[in-house]
């Protein structure tokens, strides 16, 4: 099974009635058990692309399809804004997707508890989102996406609202979880170190219009990239990506 993004283009009409091309001729494939990271400067269309893949936005042209799958594919999305339902407890949030596809109470209990356990929120099962810290909220968001056991996991800057240290810890945790589930994943981030730390492949987008500038394979083992011995190489990848983006990022800052 793989997910094919074929010739995707997207134009918006902005408030002054001008056409804005957000994405242009985007072509790539996410393979089974592959972790693909999208990076690019602000406003390059990362979220737009992720939303198109997630079925939350129609492309102006081109299409996105799952190859080699029988039923309708299941998607799990983790949003930057987290988007937990404030009126549902952690458990109720996590099993939301299961309820909607008609899982039995017993199944909900089993699967729900399993993933809540996986993200380490067992003690906060019955808490409302307002009672959680930022890090815990994002974990609940991840558990909710995992609980539907999706064919494709989409994540849009899930850790960008967290502080630097919490973020580092959450990245490690995400990798641990990913190693257990091995879901095909499309991950969007601004943070280049994060991209290098997590990705099998990094897709670098440029701005105006959002186009693929380069696709970089990260040839490092999936775990332990923070170790002394890979630090040099990681650093090089990061630098390479930063050089690709820098100019665009500076331009974005001046807008």
């Amino acid at each position: 099974m793989s997910i094919v993004i074929e010739n995707v283009e997207k134009t918006f009409i902005d408030s002054k009635k001008n056409e804005v091309t957000a994405l242009k001729s985007i072509n790539f494939t996410i393979h089974e058990e592959e972790f693909v990271v999208l990076v690019g400067p602000s406003g390059c269309g990362k979220s737009t692309l992720l939303n198109i893949v997630g079925g939350l936005l129609s492309p102006t042209s081109g299409s996105v399809y799952f190859d080699g799958i029988k039923e309708n594919p299941t998607l799990g999305i983790v949003f930057q804004e987290i988007a937990l339902f404030p009126w549902r407890t952690v458990f109720e949030n996590v099993v939301y997707g299961l309820q909607e596809r008609g899982a039995s109470k017993k199944q909900q209990q089993e699967i729900g508890n399993h993933y809540i356990d996986m993200v380490g929120l067992t003690d906060f099962k019955d808490a409302y989102p307002k009672q959680l810290s930022g890090g815990m909220k994002q974990r609940a968001g991840i558990a909710r996406a995992l609980a539907v056991e999706p064919d494709l996991l989409l994540m849009d800057e899930p850790f960008s609202a967290l502080d630097a240290q919490t973020r580092t810890l959450m990245q490690e945790e995400l990798l641990t979880i990913w190693n257990r589930t091995r879901l095909s994943t499309l991950y969007v981030t601004h943070n280049i170190e994060e991209a290098v730390y997590l990705a099998d492949r990094v897709i670098v987008l440029s701005r105006h219009p959002g186009q693929i500038k380069q696709i970089i394979n990260i040839d490092l083992p999936k775990t332990g990239r923070n170790d002394e011995k890979y630090r040099e190489q990681s650093s090089k990848y990061a630098d390479e990506i930063w050089q690709l983006i820098r100019h665009d990022a500076e331009a974005a800052l001046k807008e």
């Binding site: 079925g55 999305i77 909607e100 596809r101 989102p129 307002k130």
Partner: protein, 264 residues
Amino acid sequence: MEKQKQVITNRVAFLDKKVPFYTSFLGIAGILILWEIVSRIGIVSPLFLPAPSNIVITGWEMLVSGEIYGNLTASLYRIVLGYAIGAAFGILIGLILGFFRVADAIGTPIVYSIYPIPKIALLPLFILWLGIGELSKVTIIALGVFFPVVINTFSGVKSVDPMLVKAAVTFGSNRINVIRKVILPGALPMIFAGLKLAAGTSLLLLVSAEMIAAQEGIGSMVLHYGNLMITSKLMVGVLILSLLGLIFNRALRWLENKLIPWKE
């Protein structure tokens, strides 16, 4: 050269200044005592300003005589019925305007063009249409409640975070479930804001309508004793109305906490 040492001190200390907790009681107690004294020693004639103690005693007598009971039930009947009808329709229409774009496009301009009419101005019209009985008063109250509620419900639906709708759809919700499980709970806080706003308006309309056209009810009782210059009984009426307003508000807040335990 002499050695200089400049100590940094807290320049916003004034923000943390505390006031003894008993000060809060001082204000109200002070006013009541002053009022009592002013009436007692006759600086102001009790005809104009009966002493608080006098008001309480009069109130008790009116309670025992059943006079309050009769007027209060008449008023309660009107406001409870009017409020319930207005709130129910307000929420319903507000949800419809919020969900359906066509309803929104057609209905919202109509709602907003009727909204600025001070509703009490329609009382004479309703008396013509529905007679001088209960129906016209209940309708006026319902109408006064309807508008803030419908507008708040509508805004509530519109202000539900679209991210949550997207999340629900992503996790497999159909449109009915999006409405039931996301938009309805998401709009609840705004709906309650509307209900609270409407509470004050409904009480105002009740009293006005009773003064303009009723023989019974706390409002007409207040006017009646105003006409008769029995100020202490007038004040009892005012006191009851303010208690009514207080209870109304508290009840709504209690309900809100029950229904929206997740609210920050």
